[in-house]
Symmetry: C2
Subunit: 437 residues, 2 copies
């Protein structure tokens, strides 16, 4: 009753603001009977009935409602039948509604009104442009809540009517992943593109950054990817805290945009304070390449062993084999970040006095990394090199050396301008050939 | 340069959405030179110059910028020269801008764009209706940020143009403070008002709730206050965790609206898990009225001693003496909440088998609370009873007894309808007179 009054008031104010409201029901306990799109309609999208779903515990019911509502809302979006989404609810309502909102592309107007919006909103916002608004009062329609609901309606209708941006000459956008240990490479590569008429968006490879990049690519906002920093994959596979989930390094391949990739930061697994590092890693820090690196009291890293690197290569190979667009993977043989250096070098990020804490020399060629060799061998072995859109370049440089950033940049620019062919840049003096590995 | 481009773009999109942007500068390090209202103008509101302020550390500089910007923006608001506020910044910018926004009344459009809006936003939102929007990208103008800034501009202009609510017959709004231990009283009193054509807004007395209530009153949204639950004042004075700051119980008095007050919950000081209770309290739980009450693993309470209650009464008396409107304080002599009962009574909130954990009998009249007597004596002593707008009623009931809720409700209704006079309801059989204390 309370809910009906509040939501009908919100819908009415949407109408008064010039919008055309459709009330979509996301109940998990009881069908309300007054929604434009009922919970039965929502559940039918996933072949379920209210009887089946309402008998489950609320958490499980919510998961099914989310799945059905996502499909229904995405259909409406694709048919151009909706121009914005606004929801009002408590923690359960906010959880369901924002899950649906997060499935919609960046720029599509999204507004969540909830008393949850005065605390930690990360579970609701994720990495999307969801407006979160605190309605102050928890229950009932009154002088306070009416003003706020009136504003909310005007806000979402305003966004839905936002003047279009067609008059602005957009530069193509390059997506780039960064972390402290790969900064020199990223900054040089992004300058390369900015000086050539591109915009560059740089995300931090801390989990949310990688997820957001995959979403931006999926939304069609990115023209090409400089995936310099990929340790979120290592953290996903080896239990680190900066995982971006299983879908990292898939969106560019799925939609077929150019990507140039490097194993930046993949020499490290990232954890919180030292006492949170799992024993299985802490007990191995004496082994080659598994060194401990305490960055600060809240960030502790452990090296990736050559065998672990090989595992990661196997995982990456599967993803590369599925890529539909031009894809080059560049492997620097002299280290993958600031902690992975055979000797101190301030320009490359490690002041010393010792070698980088996770450096592991290749006994056959001590200036090269054993981790790199194992990784490269597995990648070359598992990637389908018959594919004309996929190339692997083994580079006798450190990731943070200027030549490496330039190599990645030039490859991506060739791809973006349609000039790239498999084998490009293999003639450089510092490219290592298969037989030398 | 980046900042200039981004903010000018935002201002331009406000214009394209039909708004008239004014750029207000809140820099803490360097004057930008292109703002409509410069940081010098802002600082002049508090008699400071950029030279003085920019030489301070950033935290101190920010405090001064906030103070100046608040005054300037409130002046613009009072002169009807602004209809909404939107800001874009990092953690420092968000901190300054939202401090200014929080000074504006509920319903005034407020939008903060910041990458901080994907985590804990409580420091920014406080208890106000600030829209928080996550801009995804951290730096630069590009295809992603332009879309989001375009939406932000349309959002704030939309809210500023929201259709007015004059067509809606607003009921007068009663503000009411609740906590678990006072629920029976609050629910009965709010039903009383709802059945008589009022709306009731119930806030939880957990600190933010009390602050929000004071703000709503200050914004002129509340017609009368049923301040049944006031332990936020005890927590403020005695070190509990549910403090609402020094200004609790002041707004109604300042603007002169009717208020009827009770010491609901003031028998308890509230803490987190048991191991967070300060030793000074934990060491006294054997003393009369100081009993320990473990509500759940995260909420632990300690009783308020009769002497502590007297201290609280002194503090409250000062606030009541400053009140400009009709003010009645009702003191129940048989307990102030569910934990403050001489014997188990399920209707009043305590199942037993023992007396309530913080109950302390008056040796002279064991059915009454010694805490109540000490509190009442101090209040009667310190409140200026010459004032015709202030009354104190000593009631031989428990706070959760229906007669007590009805007494408070009837007094407030008389005040709201202009029928109240000091001395009203003193003729009830359960009113205790001064000489009996």
């Amino acid at each position: 009753m309370q809910r009906e009054k509040k939501l009908n008031f919100l819908a009415d104010r949407v109408k008064k603001s010039g919008g055309d409201p459709i009330i979509l029901e996301i109940s998990v306990g009881k069908e309300v009977g007054w929604a434009d799109i009922s919970i039965s309609d929502v559940l039918s999208k996933v072949g379920k009935t209210t009887e089946e779903v309402f008998s489950l515990d609320r958490g499980k019911a919510a998961d099914i409602v989310i799945e059905g509502a996502k499909r229904l809302v995405l259909e409406l979006y694709e048919k151009n039948e909706i121009d914005g989404i606004v929801a009002y609810g408590g923690s359960m309502g906010a959880s369901i509604a924002t899950s649906v909102m997060r499935a919609l592309p960046v720029g599509f107007p999204k507004l969540m009104l909830t008393t949850m919006a005065a605390g930690d909103i990360s579970p609701y916002v994720g990495t999307k442009d969801i407006c979160m608004m605190y309605p102050i009062a928890e229950a009932g329609l009154n002088k306070v809540t009416r003003r706020i609901l009136n504003n909310a309606a005007a806000c979402v209708v305003g966004m839905a009517n936002s003047p279009d941006l067609d008059d602005i000459a957009e530069k193509p956008l390059i997506g780039c992943m960064m972390f402290g240990v790969t900064t020199p490479c990223v900054l040089r590569a992004s300058k390369y593109f900015e000086s050539r008429g591109y915009d560059v968006i740089i995300n931090h490879a801390v989990g949310s950054g990688g997820r957001s990049m995959e979403e931006l690519i999926g939304d069609g906002l990115i023209s090409g990817v400089l995936d310099i920093t990929t340790h979120e994959i290592g953290d996903y596979l080896l239990g680190g805290v900066l995982s971006a989930g299983p879908d990292r390094l898939t969106a560019a391949g799925d939609i077929g945009i150019p990507q140039v990739i490097a194993p930046g930061g993949l020499d490290l697994i990232n954890f919180g304070p030292k006492d949170t590092v799992p024993e299985e890693h802490l007990s191995k820090t004496h082994l080659p390449g598994k060194g401990l690196y305490i960055h600060n009291p809240t960030v502790t890293c452990v090296g990736v062993s050559p065998d672990e690197a090989s595992l990661i290569a196997e995982h990456i190979a599967e993803k590369i084999n599925r890529a539909k667009g031009p894809t080059a993977f560049c492997i620097p043989m002299r280290g993958w970040g600031a902690c992975d250096l055979s000797e101190p070098n301030k320009d490359l990020g490690w002041a010393g006095p010792d070698p980088g804490p996770v450096w592991v020399s290749d006994p056959e060629k001590p200036e090269r990394s054993l981790r790199s060799r194992k990784f490269a061998r597995t990648l070359l072995d598992k990637v389908d090199l018959e594919k004309s859109n996929v190339d692997i370049l083994i580079v006798d440089k450190h990731l943070n050396e200027p030549e490496f950033a330039d190599l990645m940049s030039e490859l991506l620019e060739e791809m973006l301008t349609g000039r790239w062919k498999k084998g490009s840049h293999h003639d450089l003096s510092y490219i290592v050939h298969l037989e030398e590995l």
